[in-house]
C-alpha cells in the first residue's frame, strides 16, 4: 500500500507556519537568538541562547488552551491544525484516523513548575491538570481529541529521533491497514534552565554565547555542539487510495523506513555509524530503491564535533561516488535542534524540498571539515533535478542509539 503526504504544519524558530518557515530556510536565516532572561545571572546556566519559536503559541491559541496544555502540546496543536487544514480537513472515519505525535522529553515545563509550586507554596497549590499536562503522550492525546482520532494515539519516544519515528510509525500504521489517515509528527518545548544546563553539562551544547546566530554550524571546523531549539512539525499521512478518492493534493510519497539501534552507548553514537548506515540501507531496501535514486539528504547533523562526521562518513560510504550527485542539507544550522520535534520538522523540509525541487541551505559553514566528502548545500538553496521522480532521505538519530531514516519521494 502506498502512503502519501497530504498536509504539512509547523511552528518553528523560523516561522509560525510552513510558508514562513520554508521561506526563512530558503533565505538562510537563523532562528537562534540570545534568551531574554536572567537564568545565567541567577543560576549560572552556561548557555544564554536558543532557537525560540518565532510565534508564541499563546498568540494563536485561546487562553484556556494555553492553561490546559504544556507548551509542547500547544506547539503540536498549532502544527497539527495547520497540517489538517492544509490537507483539506479530510472526512475520515474516526476509527480509521490515527494520531502519532512524539516528544523527546515530555512536559518538562509543567513538571518543573509544579515542583516549584509544591516547594514554594505547598501541596494545596499543585493544580489537578499537572499530570495530564506533563505526561509525554499529552501532545498526541490532545491531537487525538481535537481531530477525533480513534484508530490509536501513540507517542514513540526515542530522544532526538522521536519525531521521525512517529512519522515512520504513521507510515506503518497505514501500511499495515490499521488506519487510512494518520496525523504524525513531533514536538518539543525544552528551552528551560534545567534541560539547557543538563545538556550543557554533558558537553552537548554550543557555548558560543557571544554569537548565537553562528552557533549552529554543522560540518564547520569550529562547530562546538548543538543549539537547543523548540517547536513542532506535523504531517498528514494518508493511504494513496484514500487521498485520491477525495481528490487531495499529494505533496510526496513515503517510500521507505529504516529503524535500528546501536546498542553501543547510552549517549554516544557508535563511532563507525554502522547502525545509522544500516537504517539508511533498510529504508532504501524497503522503498525498492538503490542509492543511485537518491537526490537529497536532510542530515541529522546537529553541529557536534563527533556526531556530524560519523553521519557524513556513513552517507559517503553508503552512496559511494553517487554522493557527488546528492545535495546534502543540514537545516539545524538555521532552526537549532528541536529534539523530539527535529525529525518531524526536517521531514517537512525534506517534503518541501521534493515538492519544490529545491534543497535548502546549510548556514554558518565558513570552513567545512576537511574530511567532509559530500556535496553540502551552503548558504543559498540549490536546485534538485527538474525532471523525473526524485527520492530523498531524512535522517534522525537520538541519544540511546536510536537511528531512523525515512525515504520520501516526489508525488
Amino acid at each position: 500500500m502506498t502512503v502519501v503526504v497530504t498536509g504539512l504544519g509547523t511552528t518553528s524558530p523560523l516561522g509560525g507556519d510552513v510558508a514562513s518557515t520554508w521561506e526563512g530556510a530558503l533565505a538562510g536565516r537563523s532562528g537562534v537568538r540570545t534568551l531574554d532572561n536572567d537564568w545565567h545571572e541567577k543560576w549560572g546556566v552556561p548557555v544564554t541562547f536558543a532557537g525560540q519559536l518565532a510565534v508564541r503559541p499563546e498568540e494563536v491559541l485561546s487562553r484556556p488552551e494555553t492553561k490546559r496544555m504544556d507548551p509542547s502540546a500547544q506547539m503540536a496543536i498549532v502544527a497539527a491544525r495547520e497540517a489538517w487544514s492544509d490537507a483539506g480537513s479530510p472526512e475520515v472515519d474516526p476509527e480509521r484516523l490515527g494520531s502519532i505525535v512524539s516528544s523527546g522529553i515530555g512536559g518538562v515545563w509543567t513538571l518543573l513548575s509544579a515542583w516549584d509550586t509544591l516547594k514554594e507554596r505547598g501541596a494545596n497549590r499543585v493544580l489537578p491538570l499537572t499530570v495530564p499536562m506533563l505526561m509525554p503522550n499529552s501532545p498526541t492525546a490532545y491531537v487525538s481529541l481535537e481531530f477525533t482520532a480513534r484508530a490509536g494515539a501513540h507517542s514513540p519516544v526515542s530522544a532526538c529521533a522521536s519525531g521521525a519515528e512517529a512519522i515512520g510509525m504513521g507510515f506503518e500504521m497505514i501500511e499495515s491497514g490499521r488506519a487510512d489517515v494518520v496525523i504524525a509528527g513531533g514536538t518539543e518545548a525544552a528551552i528551560h534552565p534545567l534541560p539547557i544546563t543538563a545538556f550543557a553539562s554533558m558537553q552537548a551544547l554550543s557555548k558560543r554565547n557571544d554569537d548565537p546566530a553562528a552557533a549552529s554550524r554543522p560540518y564547520d571546523v569550529k562547530r562546538d555542539g548543538f543549539v537547543l531549539g523548540e517547536g513542532s512539525g506535523v504531517v498528514v499521512l494518508e493511504s494513496e487510495e484514500h487521498a485520491k478518492a477525495r481528490g487531495a493534493r499529494i505533496y510526496a510519497r513515503v517510500l521507505g523506513l529504516g529503524m535500528t539501534a546501536d546498542a553501543h552507548h547510552i549517549a554516544a553514537p557508535e563511532p563507525n555509524g554502522a547502525g545509522q548506515t544500516r537504517a539508511m540501507e533498510l529504508a532504501l531496501e524497503r522503498a525498492g530503491l538503490t542509492t543511485a535514486d537518491i537526490s537529497h539528504v536532510n542530515a541529522h547533523a546537529t553541529s557536534t564535533p563527533v556526531g556530524d562526521m560519523i553521519e557524513a562518513r556513513g552517507i559517503r560510504a553508503l552512496l559511494g561516488s553517487h554522493a557527488d550527485q546528492v545535495l546534502l542539507s543540514a537545516t539545524k544550522s538555521m532552526t537549532g535542534h528541536l529534539l523530539g520535534g527535529a525529525g518531524a520538522l526536517e521531514s517537512v523540509f525534506t517534503i518541501k524540498a521534493l515538492e519544490t525541487r529545491t534543497a535548502p541551505p546549510t548556514i554558518n559553514v565558513d570552513e567545512p571539515d576537511p574530511e567532509l566528502q559530500v556535496d553540502l548545500v551552503r548558504d543559498t538553496p540549490r536546485a534538485l533535478p527538474a525532471e523525473g521522480q526524485l527520492a530523498a532521505i531524512n535522517n534522525s538519530f537520538g541519544f540511546g542509539g536510536h537511528n531512523v531514516a525515512v525515504v520520501f519521494g516526489t508525488a
Binding site: S62, R63, P64, E65, K67, R68, R121, N124, R125, V126, L127, P128, L129, P132
Partner: protein, 82 residues
Amino acid sequence: MALAQNEVLEGLAEIVVEETGIDAADVQLDKSFTDDLDIDSLSMMTIVTLAEEKFDVRIPDEEVKNLVTVGDAVTYIVNAQA
C-alpha cells in the same frame, strides 16, 4: 477585609473564564458548574485551587462536591473569609 458577594462572583468568574473559555456573562449565581457550564471534575478542582489562592481561603476536597452552583461556591468563599 472580606469581599462582598458580587466581588467574589466577579473574581470567581475571572478564574472560570480563564480556565474554560466560557463567556463571563454565563457565570451566574444560579448556574450549575457541571450541568450548565459543562465543567468537568478536573477543571472544577483547578478552579477550586485557584480560588483558594485568590481569596485566601481553604476549601476542603470533601466540600467541593457540595458546591453545585456558582452561588454555592460564592457563598462558601464569602463565609470562609469571614
